[in-house]
């Protein structure tokens, strides 16, 4: 017998020796929660600030001005974007704009000062941004290697809790959950922000989208 058949056979034997009653999972925890816009916004901003992310709110028409200002403030010169990002978002930006391509080797992404992307869903209660590899978010390496990630979140994409956010995901897409910049508490449990992922996370929340 090969390993597969052996292991599956053992699992069946185990369950025959110690049968398990069928289990009904009751999901009495909070699901399908809605919160008014201002509350979701306040909650999200509170969480993001707690994680030491930089947060800005603006309207859709202010997108390019806000992004240009943030990028200038960060001292960025070369800014990467995924191929499917709305170019008008960066119409006020005067530095170099580098559109990502799948054949760019990952180490070259380190030469970008920052990367600007959209996002798929965001959970307010935990301050978690979900990226799913769509064309306006790019491949995973793009939001991982550069040291600064500027992420645009629309308030309509913000859910109250985790179940409401998970519901909006497409399971088969490579999905990254981001809750603040990378961090470690491995040395005497003292929190250090910025280990391997981007050390700076900037979140721009568009309140009328």
């Amino acid at each position: 017998m090969n390993a597969r058949e052996t292991v599956l056979g053992r699992v069946r034997d185990a369950l025959a020796l110690a049968p398990r009653p069928a289990v009904a999972v009751s999901r009495d925890y909070r699901r399908g929660r809605g919160l008014p816009d201002p509350e979701r916004l306040d909650l999200l901003v509170d969480r993001l600030v707690d994680y030491k992310a930089q947060v800005r709110t603006c309207t859709a028409t202010e997108t390019s001005a806000t992004l240009a200002e943030m990028l200038a403030g960060l001292g960025a010169r070369r800014v990467g974007i995924p191929a499917g990002l709305d170019r008008t978002w960066l119409s006020d930006w005067t530095g170099d704009l580098v559109e990502d391509r799948p054949d760019v080797p990952a180490p070259s992404l380190a030469e970008l000062d920052a990367v600007v992307t959209a996002s798929a869903v965001t959970c307010a209660e935990t301050g978690t941004i979900f990226l799913d590899g769509s064309h306006d978010q790019g491949r995973r390496a793009l939001t991982l290697v550069p040291d600064v990630h500027v992420c645009v979140v629309d308030l309509s994409q913000v859910t109250a809790g985790i179940p409401e956010a998970m519901e909006r995901l497409v399971p088969e897409r490579p999905t990254t959950l981001i809750s603040g910049p990378s961090a470690t508490s491995d040395i005497e449990l003292e929190r250090v922000e910025g280990v391997h992922g981007p050390r700076t996370l900037v979140v721009v929340i568009r309140t009328d989208r």
Partner: protein
């Protein structure tokens, strides 16, 4: 394709003796006595566990539906264990459909050989690793080393442990036993080209690790990971982490090899909504960990283009065949039970001799690797590494009744070995807790009651210091599986109160029990 079940079921085997890291060299009381001599260790542990405890309590209290989430988490895990054959086959089919390759490993040796072969096929002599308890359990790094392949741990704490030729001592913070000055010295000695003026400030130490590992992330073409959850319905795997080393390993290399215990499978994608709330809050005491990666097979143009999933048994099916012990398989490795355990806090993780320390280790290790009476097996002493105070059960996000499992394991060990269980229990408790206090006396009464009971379930004789207490009465033993219920019942309370009243707080252990 599913094989049909024929004939009598056979008891599945434990993890083979002597392979991997599921057994220490000394019994728990011996190892604990040694660790207790290390004041630095105790100070580090005390500070660390106290800090995490406070954070966990704050973020779990914040959720009004915490108990409902725990109940759902426990139910999903129980459901998954009962449906394991079909879920594993479904997971395999989905991963394969999405462009991955699934392998099965009966034990540590088979898993190690499989991974070695897969790495060799890439031509690389190096792999980068993201923290995985399963690969620590099977001793993968040591095996790869023996085959001329260098494994680089990339989690900061794992890196510290690896550079120091040390062993992890905590599930979540494996270098919890090291302080900053020790870490500075380890880095100065072991990281090539590190700045000789390196400071012991944690931020600087983390920066030194970042610089060292960056080059590995960018150049090593193979990664080995574990997985927190594997979703049968979609074939999705997940790694929950903080530092971004996980994202690096799961994204940049050409080849990704994930080693996952078969008990990590969950039925549905939607089940993640429960565990992604339970795990970070119980583990680091955060509302959410900084990064979680979810991936399904291979995505063209994004991440590793060659993906292998190794499904590992190594004693898990043996645990599954134990109607009581199998509950230990529900563990999601959050480490909350370690952080609340008075025994762990005093002795640290090394005393348990296994990859899995603390209360969960005391039940899971003997389940996976067994206890061999003939070999004076250190694992036989693990179920006694507890005062049965119950704090672990209260903290566990999937409601594993660890005290009941410990009592059951003690019972099984005594039945099989005929060894004086109460002596072991007292030795372990005495070694760790110092002077026995009233509450340990009372709890021992309960625990010993379960063990000393004969076939009729009545206790007619108890060892000293409780011996005199039973001569005048028969106590009903706490029945199997319901230790906690007994403990909370009027009968239990009465028995404990009686024990306490007759054996005042200053009762000393008889000399030979120390």
């Amino acid at each position: 394709m599913s094989s049909t079940f024929l004939g009598m079921p056979a008891a599945p085997p434990r993890s083979p003796y002597g392979a991997g890291n599921l057994r220490g060299e000394r019994t728990f009381p011996e190892a604990a006595a040694h660790e207790l001599g290390n004041d630095q260790l105790r100070a580090n542990l005390h500070r660390a566990t106290r800090t995490i405890r406070a954070k966990r309590l704050a973020v779990t209290a914040e959720l009004p539906d915490w108990e409902e989430l725990r109940a759902a988490g426990a139910a999903v895990k129980n459901e998954a264990m009962g449906r394991l054959p079909e879920l594993l086959e479904q997971l395999e089919a989905k991963v394969t459909e999405a462009g991955g390759t699934v392998h099965w490993a009966r034990d540590a040796a088979e898993a190690n050989a499989l991974v070695t072969e897969l790495v060799a096929a890439t031509g690389s002599r190096e792999v980068i690793k993201v923290k995985s308890m399963a690969t620590q359990e099977i001793g993968l790094n040591e095996h790869l080393e023996s085959q001329g392949i260098t494994a680089h741990e990339t989690d900061l704490a794992e890196l510290i442990v690896q550079l120091a030729d040390d062993r992890p001592s905590h599930i979540l913070v494996p270098a919890i036993h090291r302080n900053r000055e020790e870490i500075r010295r380890i880095f100065l000695e072991r990281i090539p080209g590190v700045d000789p003026g390196l400071d012991s400030v944690p931020a600087e130490l983390a920066a030194a690790a970042r610089a060292y590992l960056r080059e590995k992330f960018m150049s090593v073409p193979v990664a080995v990971s574990g997985a927190n959850f594997g979703i049968a319905e979609t074939g999705t795997l997940s790694v929950v982490e903080s530092e971004g080393n996980g994202r690096m390993c799961l994204t940049l290399p050409r080849t990704l090899i994930t080693v996952m215990g078969i008990e990590k499978v969950l039925p549905r994608y939607a089940d993640l909504e429960v565990f992604l709330q339970l795990l970070p809050r119980s583990s680091t005491g955060e509302r959410m960990n900084p990064y979680t990666t979810l991936w399904t097979g291979v995505t063209p143009g994004d991440g590793p283009q060659d993906f292998h999933l190794v499904l590992l048994d190594n004693g898990r099916t043996a645990a599954l065949a134990d109607p009581i012990g199998r509950e230990a398989l529900n563990c999601i490795r959050c480490s909350a039970c370690l952080n609340v355990c008075p025994v762990y806090e005093r002795v640290g993780g090394h005393a348990y001799g296994s990859t899995y320390p603390g209360p969960i280790g005391a039940v899971l290790t003997p389940q996976l690797a067994g206890t061999h009476a003939a070999k004076n097996d250190p694992n036989a002493s693990l179920p006694y590494a507890s005062t049965l105070c119950g704090a672990c059960y209260d903290a566990c996000p999937v409601k594993i009744d660890i005290p009941s499992l410990l009592v059951e394991l003690r019972h099984q060990t005594t039945e099989r070995t005929g060894r004086s269980a109460e002596r072991l229990a007292m030795k372990a408790a005495a070694a760790v807790m110092g002077r026995p206090k009233l509450y340990t006396t009372a709890q021992r009464a309960a625990a010993i009651g379960r063990i000393a009971a004969g076939r009729d379930g009545k206790i007619s004789h108890l060892p000293p210091p409780l011996g005199g207490w039973t001569e005048s009465r028969d106590i009903t033993a706490p029945p199997r599986r319901t230790f906690r219920a007994w403990y909370a019942s009027q009968e239990g309370r009465d028995a404990l109160a009686a024990a306490a009243a007759e054996h005042p707080a200053d009762t000393e252990m008889p000399e030979e029990e120390r």
